[in-house]
Assembly symmetry: C2
Homo-oligomer: 205 residues x 2
DNA sequence: ACGTCGCCATGACAGATGTCATGGCGACGT
DNA sequence: ACGTCGCCATGACATCTGTCATGGCGACGT
């Protein structure tokens, strides 16, 4: 397998970005894009069919997100290494991506020239992590929210009232308020909306 | 000037996307990327220096946004045509972009192969508009919000309470609540949070 | 000159929200 | 067996929010 070109899979929900990244990486003589997909659900089938050396996954995708797709790929195709390429440097994303088995994590405002290098390093078995993000990630740490609190905050994202959240989760309204209250406390917010924002910013949702 | 290659400027805050688009467009023999910038403020100086035929601008950028940059370019360099390339198909964006003098509007999930065509059409003096978006845009129309209502909603985006918004805008709390209430009514929401979301979704903020 | 409209403000009211105390249930580790 | 913890629930309370009626002010168009 050595001496051959590195086989790549690209996953990004925006077709234009996907195609552009393909063009960018295709310029490198030692890299070859063998598959492109636009949703998280399509990642694993494509990996199994094309057996790429490295899979570049976005985190935000319809269906399965990049983190969940990473876990799937690691389980079903351990030879394929995963490099997360994402828009948002949410601190929690990095930690969760690495826990899921990703070999690298790059945000989309790193210079284009470095992407090919990141791919080569990942392929070589090294770990590639955005330097600025690493420190933030350690500071933010794990989500302090329990699973219910997380669910309630997720349901509150669209501006639903307590009654709506309770109906969606089959809970009593009082319980929803209790979960919200403790989530607000844990996030240091004073507010439901604030709690949603900080939890999102930390990648806890 | 005909027979020559089309000179392009790229503006996108994400370096990776910028570089990738550059690679993609650079593959076309009749296109040439002559400048790349990462913020809205840098667009006009770069246009004046390099005199591109077509400027590809993202809407979401630090500093000046793509719409404002479009207006600047049209005013100071009328020969440069503007093609907006953006992530979000917010209905209001299209209308505002066209009003600002953009010649085209493409969302980032159109196939990569079509981008070069869009550039050529814009350069030829044609108008290029994402077909799916055009109808939405007509439906959504202009923002129904008054300037104060817009300001109040913007201030409410971070989850601030009425008191905080009032302090920020030097208004009475009652007045803030009135503006919020009418904004909620106009957006068809039942809620401050919902109002913020739908206003954002329509590009009214 | 008049009506309309946006903007600011006040006061009052109903309903939603956030907090707190309290209690029951099941899972888990020691 | 016991303590701890997450989860669910209830009731009560203070506060925040959203609505409505009302009024004054200035700008604008007819």
């Amino acid at each position: 397998m050595s001496g051959q070109s590195i086989r790549l899979l690209l996953a990004d929900d925006q077709a234009l970005v996907r195609g552009a990244l393909s063009a960018l990486l295709g310029l490198e003589p030692d890299l070859e894009v063998v598959a492109e997909v636009g949703s998280g659900d399509a990642v694993l089938p494509a990996v199994l069919e094309h057996r790429p050396d490295v899979a570049l996954l976005d985190v935000e995708m319809p269906g399965l997100d990049g983190i969940a797709a990473t876990a799937e790929v690691r389980r079903a195709a351990p030879d394929t290494r995963v490099l997360i390429v994402t828009t948002f440097g949410r601190p929690g994303y990095l930690r969760r991506a690495l826990q899921a088995g990703a070999s690298g994590f790059v945000v989309k405002d790193t210079p284009a020239a470095q992407l090919a290098d990141a791919v080569r390093r990942v392929h070589a078995g090294l770990r590639v992590v955005d330097p600025g993000l690493a420190t933030d990630s350690l500071l933010a740490g794990e989500s302090p929210l329990t699973s219910r609190e997380t669910e309630v905050l997720q349901a509150a994202r669209d501006g639903s009232a307590v009654a709506g959240i309770a109906a969606k989760l089959f809970l009593s309204e009082g319980t929803v308020r209790n979960h919200l209250s403790s989530a607000i406390g844990k996030t240091g917010a004073t507010n439901r909306a604030e709690a949603v924002l900080t939890a999102e910013g930390n990648g806890w949702l």
